[in-house]
């Protein structure tokens, strides 16, 4: 019974390109109750796996991780076939200065986005009919991400055209599956056709990321300022 359960689960997860380690599977199965219906167990397994740190819970077959020399800056362009499973450790909005991002966070902190407490700061100019939208609540980036595969390798990625689910509002630790991606000078070029946003998150990382964001942005602004 347990064996068929394990087989079912493995098949379910493999179909999503997730190859959990034997020990993870064992640990998981030990937490399930035998009377729970299979579909529910499958769902829970997927959910728990996606909420885990893949460097400890996934097997590392060559095809599902990045090639070991992927970070070489001397290679102008190479295609990584994959399917590579990775988790998002960080995301940056590189289309807007860090300082302006700090300012919007501070405006939210001051409560200026709550009804009745709004301070109008951007006054629309009378224009030639082409309305320049006031800064949208969610920036469209573009975004630079930091990805990590099951082997622990970290690599930067750039969202070329905008992919649903990738933004500074996303949870850290989300899992992506990449297929036939172009890696240029050691940076993964993400395009909608080759990225699948599977989901999940890493709770502790996400919390710390959100709380420390303003400080990180300010520190980064100071750093680039002194380098410039």
């Amino acid at each position: 019974m347990a064996a068929t359960m394990a087989a079912e689960l493995t098949q379910h997860l493999n179909a999503r390109h997730l190859y959990p380690t034997a020990s993870w599977l064992q640990t998981f199965l030990s937490t399930t109750r035998p009377i729970t219906p299979l579909p529910a167990i499958k769902q829970t397994a997927l959910f728990r796996l996606l909420a885990s740190d893949i460097t400890t819970t996934l097997k590392q077959p060559a095809a599902s991780v990045f090639p070991s020399d992927v970070l070489k800056g001397t290679i102008k362009s190479r295609i990584v076939t994959g399917p590579v499973v990775c988790q998002v450790l960080d995301i940056e909005d590189i289309g807007h200065s860090r300082w302006s991002q700090v300012e919007s966070i501070e405006a939210k902190e001051r409560g200026e986005t709550t009804k009745g407490r709004e301070i109008v700061r951007v006054v629309e100019q009378e224009n030639e009919g082409t309305a320049d939208a006031a800064s949208p609540v969610q920036s469209k980036g573009p975004f630079k991400l930091l990805l990590q595969d099951a082997k622990g390798l970290k690599i930067y990625a750039f969202d070329l055209r905008g992919i649903d689910g990738l933004s500074t509002n996303m949870a850290m630790g989300v899992k992506l599956v990449l297929r036939n991606v172009d890696v240029r000078r050691g940076v993964v070029m993400l395009e909608p056709g080759c990225v699948q946003v599977v989901g999940g998150k890493l709770d502790a990382l996400d919390k710390a990321w959100k709380q420390g964001r303003k400080e990180r942005l300010m520190a980064a602004a100071r750093t680039v300022n002194t380098l410039a």
Partner: protein, 674 residues
Amino acid sequence: MVVRTVLCVAEKPSIAKAIANHLGDQVTTHNIQSNPYVKNYEFDYTFPQWGHCSVTMTSVLGHLLSHEFESRYKSWTSCDPSALFDARIEVFVGSNGKPIADNIKRHARRADVLYIWTDCDREGEHIGTEIRSVAAQSNQTLGRAGGTVRAHFSNIERAHIIHAAQHPTDLDEAQADAVASRIELDLRVGASFTRHLTLSLRPVLHRGNLSEASRLISYGSCQFPTLGFIVERYLRVRNFISEPFWGIKLMYQKAGISVNFSWARKHLFDRMIAVILYEWCLTSQTAQVQKVKTKPTSKWKPLPLTTLELQKCGSRFLGMDSQKVLQLAEKLYQKGWISYPRTETDQFDQAMDLRGLVQKQAQGGRWASYAAALVEGGFSWPRNGHNNDKAHPPIHPVNFVNPTMLSHEEQCVHEFVVRRFLACCSKDAQGSKTDISILYGPEIFNASGLVILERNYLDVYVYDRWGNQELPPFIEGEVFEPTEAILSEGKTSPPGYLTEPDLLALMDANGIGTDATMADHIVTIIHRQYVEAKAQPRQARHGNDEEGSEELPTQAIVGNSRRGRTTAARRGAGRNSGAGRGGAVTGVREFIPTTLGVALVEGHENMGFETNLTKPFLRKEMELKMKAICNGQTTKARVVNETIEQYRGVYTRMQQHPDVLRRAARKYVFGEVN
């Protein structure tokens, strides 16, 4: 009621004179005792509703009545400042007003009807009730129903005045009440908080210069939020951190024209990514035209002129501060050249004879031929804005006047009003715009061209610019090799300090003050030395992320002078009259807080409660409640009570944190702690 004798009272002597001369055939003028400005004009007039009457036309000089606390509250040491929330207020004729009030009372005795001709805005309505209360002291019938009527007019052109005289209305008690509540609230809140702030900070400021210590820290419910905006912007500039960014600049030479393509991403704040994309483009060698779209485009003519817009444009285009512009506009109104300059309305009523008004401007001036051409064809009904205060039309020229008859400054404002009006009655400018989009490597670049086909309003409204932009022909699918592809680098520069037009716009958007009072609030905070105004240097920056290669202002330490200038102000004073590096200034003023101004705002921020006096919410609520009184949705008593309770709460909390404000003052004014 048989009406034989009418007493008319206007708000200013010049208006009284103008009206008297429009209505009366033979007008006799008399002086009054003890005041050289106010005169009585006597004439006969046949009113359609009353028949033949003898009329006395006189005026006041603005508000007639003064409001003060009972004498036992006068001394600052007589009570805790919060007692002023409930103290009795005495209303009486001020000493300056006595001769004027006596004049009114004397003529009121014989009058059958009191006809109010004060300006048609809220303050004017209140002044009307003041006049009525004074007149009723010697003639009770004037104070009763039907004893007082009111003229409704928005300019002093003859036909308009005659029409107003023949169609009296009633005083709007609701509006008068709104003003009465404002007066009471400003007095109670202003006095109590001024005393509290001054007494609270006096021990801190007392160190050193004694004369400084005896100065007043005054509070006003509009001034503080205005100061708040200025300080906030100052802190943003001061705390700004410049960041480098990178962009790809593309140029292609075709048919003798250098076409500059701008990157769809504009710029990126990450060098590594920018370089990778740049390399990717270069590797692709050629670019392909994806989209070519030519379509008609227009530049809209301006909206009808409101007070706020006049002040903003006065600052931007005429180099005049808001108060001055309004004063000059007032003069032009009193002389009968333009309509009432205090208005929020930016739509023209369909019944107005705009063509006739345009025709009048064809008589002379630099715009004469334009106006003439407009009447013959090319006239187009003005655009409608969103606002209508139902009291006055947009500011417009009412009569023709030869500019040489005006002072130089009056000419500037007058010319602007005329040009704006003629522009409103013109057609939009028309052009043809071509937008091109190309794909170079993975990246999209855009270029556009503009051909102006008809200038229309631009010919008379010289304050707007629209330029041709040449573009050679491109077709979709065309492939070419760019002449130049460069990776450029830039740095963000800080926003500029708050300029006058921007401050006015912020006050308006956040409900601080009305069109009539906003300029006054700005004057007040300068006068109280909370901020300084200086000319904006020409290379002043606008946005956060615009390309700029300027140095950052150096972060200097705030100095020791008590009501000292902040670093920016001092730097500005060091250069020639605040001019920038190149010596050039725009005509626009920008505002920089003094150390005291910053201390006040930061002190209040640190007290941290929701009803922060330097934020606009409290005043905005007050203004909304004023409107509600005018609309009959609430009463003066209720509004005064509610607002006093709000401020009482703020006062109590301030009392519980006495050291916060003092700490801020010590920090900024003395440079302690950094």
